[in-house]
């Protein structure tokens, strides 16, 4: 979309509009608004933004233990001795950690798989950080693995596979409960969700 206007725009403006337009949730209109905003703002502000973006790519790497994103060798969660290192919560991607942290209910550590098992896309064990998870389980005092993959078919496949390989190690494997999301309507719930909500019903 952005390229359609680019003929009438100065080249540096058109270029930034196009770059903004590539970002998720930013359409051509918003891309233009952001670009003109930066054009009007002081030099230091634009410079700070550019530097922050560069630093993101230059300084960020994966934690050598849990594969979360960090700017050090080991992330702040793995370094935190207050946390319970006998519990590992397995997530699909780094951005899944934040919502779990926000609940304030979890004090263990994490492990990021960087994907889920997706056989028809050719994504299997070797593409994910599963070997790394298993080696963490070998030489530590881990007693529980909580699998927090998304409630999709790929997420389920991953849960079942992990349960299959970790249970024989004598480590407890649990998963997030599945059921109706807050604000949902029974009438529109699918069979799998409703079935599991019934299976895991709670007493008052």
């Amino acid at each position: 979309m952005a390229s359609r206007f680019s003929a009438s725009l100065a080249e540096p403006v058109a270029r930034l509009v196009e770059e903004f337009n590539k970002l998720p949730g930013i359409g051509p209109k918003n891309a233009q608004r952001l670009t003109y905003h930066l054009l009007r703002s002081p030099n230091e502000e634009a410079k700070a933004l550019a530097e922050a973006i560069l630093a993101l790519k230059e300084k960020i790497r994966l934690c050598s233990i849990c594969f979360n994103i960090t700017d050090r060798d080991t992330c702040s969660i793995c370094q935190d001795e207050e946390r319970d290192h006998s519990k590992i919560c397995v997530v699909e991607k780094p951005s899944d950690i934040l919502p779990l942290e926000r609940t304030g209910k979890y004090d263990g550590v994490y492990h990021v798989l960087h994907g889920t098992i997706n056989p028809t896309q050719g994504i299997t064990i070797s593409e994910l950080k599963i070997k790394e998870l298993l080696s963490r389980l070998q030489d530590s005092s881990v007693t529980e693995v909580i699998v927090a993959t998304n409630p999709t078919l790929e997420g389920e496949t991953t849960v079942m596979y992990l349960q299959h390989i970790i249970t024989p190690l004598g480590i407890r494997v649990s998963r997030l409960a599945r059921g109706l999301p807050f604000g949902a309507d029974l009438e529109y719930a699918d069979d799998m969700t409703l079935g599991q909500a019934l299976d895991h019903r709670q007493e008052f």
Partner: protein, 292 residues
């Protein structure tokens, strides 16, 4: 058949991929339109009314609106979620494999009702605990039939003489049995057969010579035992109940798997991705069983 502005169809979801942050592209197989790709808006948001109804391996009723490019799924209802299948890692994987086969062999807007029935039937069969291997082989054999590649198993594809009860050969290029005589004749002047001989295609890393020794190193044909031929002939013309009654030893099972999958790969001219996962899982589950 060209649908009107709003239309309704049964659909078996075979694949999905993300579109932007919250939407999904749903690929399904339908009775009237064959393969159908459509957009499920907001399907990634928690509490989406489409949510689980458009997950792969679900038989659903979809209401769609004509879109400029892809049609939009406006409402959905699950007819069968195949929950028994989805509770088991091996059977989920089998379901994904047959979905991938349907996706690989079919095109959009090309009706093939028997193929829809075959897929639906296979998913029902995979909900039962027994005979998943037989379900896969039966599915492959009948898929080939409904696509116009029904293997010719009764007469030699070259000399037309009735097939004798000896070790014969399956010719991938001719789609049927070659008698030993014709096989040796043909192989005199036949270049060694490479599965990936189409323009510059790389040989995939998962399909090595160890896995399909017959197919890669031999010529364009695959040796077929008398028992394997008998089973294929029976399966070609019977229902699941009869097919499942056949007792298959493991070496016969892997012979049948190899000949059918090699033929499929020959026809597609590329790898079926979920085969690698099925193999990986199978060896893992076997090891596990032996340990217990």
């Amino acid at each position: 058949m060209s649908p009107t502005r709003n239309y309704q169809t049964q659909a078996i979801v075979i694949k999905q991929s993300k579109l932007g942050e919250f939407d999904k592209i749903i690929t399904s197989y339908t009775p009237e339109f064959g393969k159908l790709k459509a957009v499920a808006k907001g399907a990634c948001r928690p509490g989406s009314k489409l949510g689980g109804n458009v997950e792969p391996l679900t038989h659903s009723l979809l209401l769609l609106a004509k879109g400029r490019n892809l049609d939009i799924i406006t409402q959905s209802q699950t007819i069968d979620g195949f929950l028994a299948l989805k509770s088991d890692l091996w059977r989920i994987s089998c379901g994904l494999y047959i979905s991938e086969l349907i996706d690989s062999f079919t095109m959009e807007n090309s009706e093939n009702r028997p193929l829809f029935d075959l897929l639906l039937d296979a998913l029902h069969q995979l909900c039962q605990t027994d005979g998943s291997e037989i379900v896969l082989r039966y599915f492959e054999l009948h898929l080939l039939h409904h696509l116009g590649y029904r293997p010719q198993l009764h007469r030699c594809v070259t000399c037309d003489s009735p097939v004798k009860p000896v070790v014969n050969f399956f010719s991938f290029s001719q789609g049927g049995i070659l008698c030993p005589h014709c096989n040796s004749e043909e192989n005199h002047h036949c270049e060694p057969f490479a599965l990936y001989h189409s323009a510059g295609e790389k040989q995939p890393k998962n399909l090595t010579q160890d896995r399909f020794p017959g197919a890669i190193s031999a010529k364009s044909s695959f040796p077929l035992s008398v028992d394997a031929l008998k089973v294929l002939r029976l399966w070609q013309d019977c229902d699941y109940a009869t097919a499942k009654r056949v007792k298959i030893k493991s070496n016969l099972s892997s012979e049948l798997e190899q000949v059918l999958q090699c033929y499929i790969i020959y026809l597609l001219q590329r790898e079926v991705k979920s085969v690698a996962w099925l193999e990986e899982l199978k060896s893992h589950l076997d090891n596990h069983r032996e340990e217990n």
